[in-house]
């Protein structure tokens, strides 16, 4: 267990930049975004960025393979080349989102594109001491701190960050001379601060939710809730655990060359379930909003024994119509 003075975080980042690409929260005007650190960028750790880290593992659009036709034969070249990088400043809720995405992208047909990026990424997580509007990590057990899941966990204990490695990758980082030895007292301060942080966050008991949802499918509460929805993609695109995608080909008809690309898709758009013949099992906003709630709070738990939500609060903060997924859940209780 080590610690690093807050003033040295900048130096740590510069040091790590020598061997890794760094993805970290950066402030742009009034907003904070995760992005690949450029030469003039400074790491900003005071709020959870608008975008989720998922875009660095499941990019907005990604080339699955390129195809080329030569002499009547097709050649397919998959696109699997990422560089070693560090996701610096990822919060515990988002770390848990990656743990869920690991399950979803695994299984019988493992997703090699996700897996490769995941293997090449080191997670340096920071505990959360100040919840943001809409944060609900304690209800899901996804925060405000971590016991594992990341490679290294840093927690603000005053003038220092306490550094706890969970893996070899994490241990490698704290070998740097920028770190000092930590004491039992430092750990105590961390535990106290985490406890204080937990008390600031509202906690809901979610155990019976999948059961309750099973009986509420035809309830008219979905009509009322969905009236405000404008069917945009903000909740799904900002959500760290939403993973649905569309696959499209780009190229010329039948001949020459092109690419097969997958890009983000959302169950909130009407076209998501529309069949070629025109029929649509989720033609109304009510059906789509209901699907989103059920997917996250019943169907995913049925399959993976984890909720499909990590309580990061992004959908609550950014929904233009003020739809609050946790308000809905507490109403259902």
């Amino acid at each position: 267990m080590k610690k690093i003075p807050k003033s040295r975080i900048k130096n740590l980042v510069r040091e790590l930049e020598k061997n890794y690409d760094i993805i970290a929260p950066v402030r742009t005007g009034e907003r904070v975004f995760f992005k690949e650190l450029g030469p003039d960028d400074e790491v900003y750790l005071k709020s959870n960025p608008t975008n989720s880290p998922k875009e660095f593992f499941l990019p907005y659009s990604e080339v699955l393979f390129e195809f080329k036709k030569t002499n009547d034969e097709f050649e397919l070249k998959p696109n699997l080349e990422s560089r070693e990088r560090i996701l610096f400043g990822i919060r515990p809720c988002d770390v848990h989102s990656l743990l869920l995405l690991d399950l979803i992208s695994g299984g019988e047909f493992e997703d090699p594109y996700y897996k490769e990026k995941r293997e090449k990424t080191t997670l340096v997580s920071f505990s959360c001491l100040e919840p943001m509007d809409g944060c609900f990590c304690t209800s899901f057990g996804t925060g405000p701190s971590l016991k594992d899941g990341a490679d290294l966990l840093l927690t603000d204990i005053g003038d220092y960050y306490l550094a706890e490695p969970f893996t070899r990758k994490g241990e490698k980082i704290i070998k740097s001379k920028l770190f000092e030895n930590a004491t039992k007292r430092d750990k105590k301060i961390k535990d106290e601060r985490i406890k204080k942080a937990e008390e600031k966050i509202q906690k809901l008991d979610l155990e019976k939710i999948p059961e309750k949802l099973a009986s509420l499918f035809d309830d008219k509460l979905w009509d009322e809730l969905s009236k405000r929805c404008i069917s945009c993609a903000i909740c799904t695109y900002l959500c760290p655990t939403c993973y649905c995608f569309d696959v499209i080909d780009e190229g010329k008809m039948f001949t020459v060359d092109g690419k097969r690309i997958r890009c983000w898709d959302t169950c909130m758009f009407p076209s998501f379930t529309r069949l070629a013949g025109g029929e649509n099992p989720r033609a109304t906003k009510k059906e789509r909003l209901r699907q989103r709630i059920y997917h996250k709070f019943k169907y995913i738990p049925d399959r993976y024994e984890k909720f499909g939500c990590v309580g990061c609060g992004r959908c609550v903060r950014y929904c233009p119509a003020g739809i609050d997924i946790m308000e809905i859940i507490s109403q259902i209780k």
Partner: protein, 276 residues
């Protein structure tokens, strides 16, 4: 404003009771204190209606799905949107009961919203009932923000917008929250022919936003909903205000003000338009 809130609740109750409308679209406050659109259908619902300085959503967008026997709380900008919707035959005047409320501007975090600071129509331009005292209007247009960017050289302007648009995630919130985007088959989503493809290509991000800016030319009322909805903070108002300024200068036309005035791009006057 509390007085107006009570009047809104009273009026909504009466309209529902007398079956003049089946639905009242207004605002409510969530338990966490967030103001958001509210749809009152029962008499008890009306007690939830609120009116204060956080009622910034443009509710007119919900008229596109609720076209008949509906009452709607409308500020100045909202009423202009409603007028445009009537003008373009999206809703019928007789099907909507407009509860007009004069507005001195909405706030966010205690600060006056930008579009409210320059708003020329604080009093509703069309309504069935006006609740509250009329307020003073700003006498002149204020296009300082547009003029500032207009004064930049082309390269800088291009760089500015490229930088802003690259953050766009095509969530379509700007389009979906806008009352004037009522096309069933939006050109930005069409597959045949396809103008903007699904992946986020740099060139296409430009096209996306420029198409929307041109398509809303002459109908944007600067309610600010698009910019507030944008999760990545693109300064959309700046773009649409530039187009609105141009429309005013070229055609002497402003959206949502005069029901009898035809939108400039729908008419052609051979004699007078020749100067263009």
């Amino acid at each position: 404003m509390e007085k107006t809130q009570k009047e809104i609740q009273k009026l909504a109750k009466r309209l529902l009771k007398e079956k003049k409308v089946d639905l009242v679209i207004g605002y409510e406050k969530s338990e966490s204190g967030k103001t958001r659109p509210f749809f009152a259908t029962k008499l008890e619902d009306t007690d939830r209606l609120v009116w204060d300085k956080s009622c910034s959503n443009n509710l007119a967008v919900y008229l596109l799905e609720n076209k008949e026997k509906v009452a709607i709380v409308a500020k100045g900008c909202d009423s202009r949107s409603i007028l445009e919707l009537i003008k373009t035959n999206q809703i019928k005047r007789d099907d909507v009961f407009i509860i007009g409320v004069p507005c001195n501007g909405m706030e966010s975090n205690g600060k006056l919203l930008e579009n409210c600071r320059v708003c020329r129509y604080r009093n509703p331009v069309i309504c069935d009932v006006l609740l509250g005292e009329k307020v003073e209007e700003i006498p002149e247009d204020n296009y300082e923000d547009v003029k500032e960017i207009e004064s930049l050289p082309l390269e800088k302007r291009l760089g500015f917008w490229k930088n802003e648009f690259q953050r766009c995630i095509k969530c379509f919130a700007c389009r979906n929250v806008c009352p004037m985007c009522y096309c069933d088959d939006c050109i930005l989503e069409k597959k045949d022919p396809q103008w903007v493809s699904k992946p986020r290509k740099k060139e296409e991000m430009f096209l996306f936003h420029l198409v929307r800016a041109f398509h809303t030319a002459g109908s944007c009322v600067d309610c600010g909903s698009c910019e507030r909805a944008c999760p990545v903070g693109i300064p959309l108002r700046l773009l649409y205000r530039k187009v609105a300024k141009d429309v005013k200068e070229l055609f002497d036309y402003e959206a949502g003000v005069d029901l009898k005035e035809k939108p400039p791009l729908t008419k052609f006057d051979l004699e007078n338009d020749e100067k263009l």
